[in-house]
Every structure is written in C-alpha cells, then in structure tokens.
C-alpha cells in the first residue's frame, strides 16, 4: 500500500515537473525549446549512474554476506539503469540534432561514455540470463558489475583525452545551467525534474525488487519440485502429486 502511494506521488511529481519545464519556464535564449529536453535528460543520466553504483555495491554485498537479497537489488538496479541510460542517450540525441546539427557527436565525452555504459550493462544483463544456478549467477554478475563500475571512470577520462589532449571544452556544457548565475526558473525546473525522476526510480526499484524475490522463490520451488518428482520416480511410484509451484507452501518447504 505504501509503495502504491509512493507510485502515485512519483507520477504526480513527474507530471508537475514536466508541466513546469514545458509551460512555466521560458525557452532558452540560444537553444530555444530544445533546451527543455535537458531536464529529463540530465535526470535520466543521474539515475543511470546511481543505478550502476547501486548494482556494484549490491554485488559487493553478495560477495561479502552471500545473501541472495543483495543479488535481487543488483539485478533490479541494473535493469532500471539500462532503461534510464537508453532514455538519456535518446534524449541527448534529440537535443543534439537541433542544437549541434547532428544526432551523434563523437567529440562529446558524455555521449560516447554513456553509449559504452549501455553496452557494458546490456552485457551484464545477458550474462545473468545465460546463467542458471542462482549462486553462480550472483557471483558472476557481482564481479562483472564491479569491474564495469571500475572501468567507467577510465572510459570517461580516456574519451576526454581522445577528442584532443590540449583542447578545453568547446561545446555548450549542459551542466552550466547549474551554474550559480543561471536564472532561478531553470534551476528549479532541473532540480524538480531530478527529484521527480528519483522518486520514480525508488518506486521502480521497490517493485522490481519484489518481482526479483518472487522469481527467485519460483525458481527455487521449481527446482524443489524436480527433486521431489525424481525421488518419487526413484521409489517406483508414478508421480501424481500436484506441482509444488501451485501449492504455495512449497516455497517455504524449499527453504
């Protein structure tokens, strides 16, 4: 129930922030209406990095405590992070087309770093999909998530160097709107959107975590059911029992 309230609050916050960013804040002098894309774009990028940070920390938690609940946090966070990363890239491209005149700007370190970020964590999710044993999957995923998180700063740093070692930033810096001199409505629109998106992220995390726990229970029950059937077969009986997945208390029994 509390989660549902959080969901409605997050929805209301996103709608309010969108309305504020679209209709109340004036258009940017140089970039026009395209600049409004920055509000959800920056918010998504922030959540992408937050998600992958949480995934790495949850991975450490699994390796340390061997509790599958940490793994459930890791997979939830990684999936939601991939979604926000894709959204950030899409928003960035929509913004870049009118402002820079091109969808893809190889010289922008943020864009290229984020694209690699997406590749890293899509690989992480694929790795999980192709592993069956829960403990093995958790261990593999934990260390892959950890190494990916370590790699991201190097990627960002190297791309900044790559576009020219002796060249300062030449493009409009989206973070400049957080500059103290930025007009108050712009700052409010951005901060509001970041808060609204973060609320949405929290709601998604809770729901996805609950789903991950249910999936783990289901997996365990299915495994337990196979054991029961195999045992019954070994005793020479025909298996007529109902599937323990449906019987509800099998999840408890499996534990």
């Amino acid at each position: 129930m509390k989660t549902r309230i959080l969901g409605f609050v997050a929805l209301a916050a996103v709608l309010a922030a969108a309305g504020f960013g679209l209709f109340v804040v004036p258009a940017d002098l140089n970039q026009g209406d395209a600049q409004r894309i920055m509000y959800p774009h920056v918010a998504s990028a922030w959540l992408a990095y937050l998600s992958f940070g949480v995934t790495a920390l949850a991975g450490i938690g699994w390796l340390w405590r061997r509790d599958l609940r940490f793994d459930a946090v890791a997979v939830s966070s990684a999936e939601i992070g991939v979604m926000f990363t894709a959204f950030a890239i899409w928003g960035g491209m929509m913004w870049a087309r009118p402002v820079w005149g091109t969808f893809w700007q190889w010289e922008d370190p943020r864009l290229t770093t984020t694209a690699l970020l997406l590749a890293l964590y899509v690989g992480y999710l694929l790795l999980r999909r192709l592993s069956d044993d829960p403990a093995r999957r958790a261990t593999r995923a934990a260390i892959v998530g950890l190494v990916a998180a370590v790699d991201i700063p190097i990627v960002h740093f190297s791309v900044i160097w790559w576009r020219g070692l002796h060249q300062g930033p030449t493009f409009l810096d989206p973070n400049k709107i957080l500059h103290p001199a930025a007009p108050l409505p712009f700052v409010l629109a951005l901060v509001g959107m970041v808060l609204a998106f973060t609320l949405t992220w929290s709601w998604l995390m809770i729901r996805r975590y609950q789903l991950a726990r249910l999936q783990a229970g289901h997996e365990e029950a299915a495994r337990y059911g196979r054991v029961v059937r195999a045992r019954a077969k070994a005793r020479g009986h025909e298996t007529t029992m109902t599937s323990p997945i449906d019987s509800g208390d099998a999840t408890e029994a499996a534990r």
């Binding site: 694929l126 790795l127 593999r140 950890l146 370590v150 190097i154 160097w161």
Partner: protein
C-alpha cells in the same frame, strides 16, 4: 618477500604449462594468426584500394585485428582447462588464486605480444606503412596493450568459461571494457608512426599503463570468487 616469490613461481609454472602445450600442439597460434591475417585482408577489401586511406587507418585496423584475434587466444587458453575437469583441479590446488590468475594472464599477454610482433610487419607490408625508427615505441605499445588486454580478457574468459553461449558472451563483455585500451593504443601507434608532432605519446602510454594496473588489480582481486563458484 618469499611469499611474493612463491606466487611468481606458481604463476610462471601455470604459464609455462600452457606455453609448453601450445608449443607441442600449436592449435591456438595457427588459428589466431590466420584469423588476424584474414581480418587485415578483409579490412583491405572494405577500405581499399586507396592506399592512402588504408595507411591512414592502419593504426586502428592493426589494433582491431589484434583485439579480435586476442579474444580467440584468451578464450582458448581457458577452454583447455575445461577438458577433463582441469579447472576444478586447478581450483583445488592450495595456492593463492591471484597466482593462478597471474599465470593465465601472463600466457595471454605473451601470446598477444608475439601476435603483435608478427602482425605489425604484415600491416606495414599490406597497407604500405613506413615503420622506420618507430619500431621500438611500437613494441612498447604492443607490450602495454597486451598486458591490459590479457588482464581483462583472462578475467572475462574465467567468467564465461562454464557458461552456455560463451563464444558470444566473451566478446560482448570484453569489447566495451577495453574501449579505453583500444583508444589509447591506437592513439599511441598513430603518434609513433607520425613522429609524435604534438608530443602526446607519453600521455597515451601512461593511460595504457594505468589501464593495465587497474585491470590486473581488479582481475586478481576477483578471480578467486570465479574459481570457487563462478
């Protein structure tokens, strides 16, 4: 101090075992080299026949060929351990897991260096690139790149070795991770071939070295978990 020496001995013993097996069978060397040569030939078809364009793109093509062929090598050096339960035996040895990782990474790095030293002249011949006095820097770049690639590749080969569809998963995981290495190695190679007019060569070599250090530490620190239940 003697602990470190002991671990180096173990790492070398593992690397030596793989090198000996390779010297006697030459399965990895033949397939990897052929693959690298084939990739270079196909790049020529894809970007040629303009000789200038090929020469300009040569550093990038060289490193892509090395990376693709290197993937085959690191995968192969882990796959030989899955036969007859050798990996489980390896995990049972009462030695530091970091030494096992170091040995596997070492043999990967040696294979990559040999591959690089053989492929560079091939690139010079096929794409009409004049190496001249740049060879010493090129070898240094290859050595640094080989260490970083083997460190990351060995780690991911360990992750995927017991998985379904490992042939697909290994490149999917390794390629985004080594993007900084590819970038720095290509830039360093370009700088070496053009006589480093902007004086940026040391910076790229430092970036390569930093990548090597981070990947070796990350791989050595986590490889033990993989042997236990990965």
């Amino acid at each position: 101090m003697s602990d470190v020496r002991r671990e180096i001995t173990i790492a070398w013993a593992i690397a030596r075992k793989d090198l000996l097996a390779e010297l006697r069978g030459r399965h990895t060397a033949v397939s990897t080299l052929t693959f690298a040569a084939l990739v270079l030939l196909l790049f020529g078809f894809a970007l040629g026949p303009d000789a200038h364009r090929l020469a300009d793109a040569a550093p990038g093509l060289l490193w892509l060929a090395l990376v693709f062929a290197g993937l085959l090598a690191v995968a192969r050096f882990h796959q030989i351990e899955t036969e007859d339960g050798a990996l489980e035996q390896l995990a049972l040895y009462p030695v530091d897991r970091r030494a096992i990782y170091a040995g596997k990474a070492l043999v990967g790095a040696i294979a990559m260096v040999i591959l690089g030293i053989l492929v560079i002249p091939a690139v010079a011949l096929m794409y009409a690139v004049n190496i001249g006095p740049a060879w010493a820097v090129l070898v240094l770049t290859v050595v640094l790149g080989a260490i970083g690639f083997a460190a990351a590749g060995t780690f991911y080969a360990g992750v995927t070795v017991r998985m379904r569809a490992r042939e697909v998963m290994l490149p999917l995981l390794v390629l985004p991770i080594i993007a900084p290495l590819l970038l720095a190695a290509v830039k360093a190679t370009t700088a070496a071939l053009t006589g480093d007019p902007f004086g940026e060569l040391p910076a790229w070599l430092q970036l390569l070295a930093a990548f090597d250090v981070v990947m070796v530490i990350a791989g050595a620190g986590t490889y033990g978990y993989l042997l236990e239940d990965g």
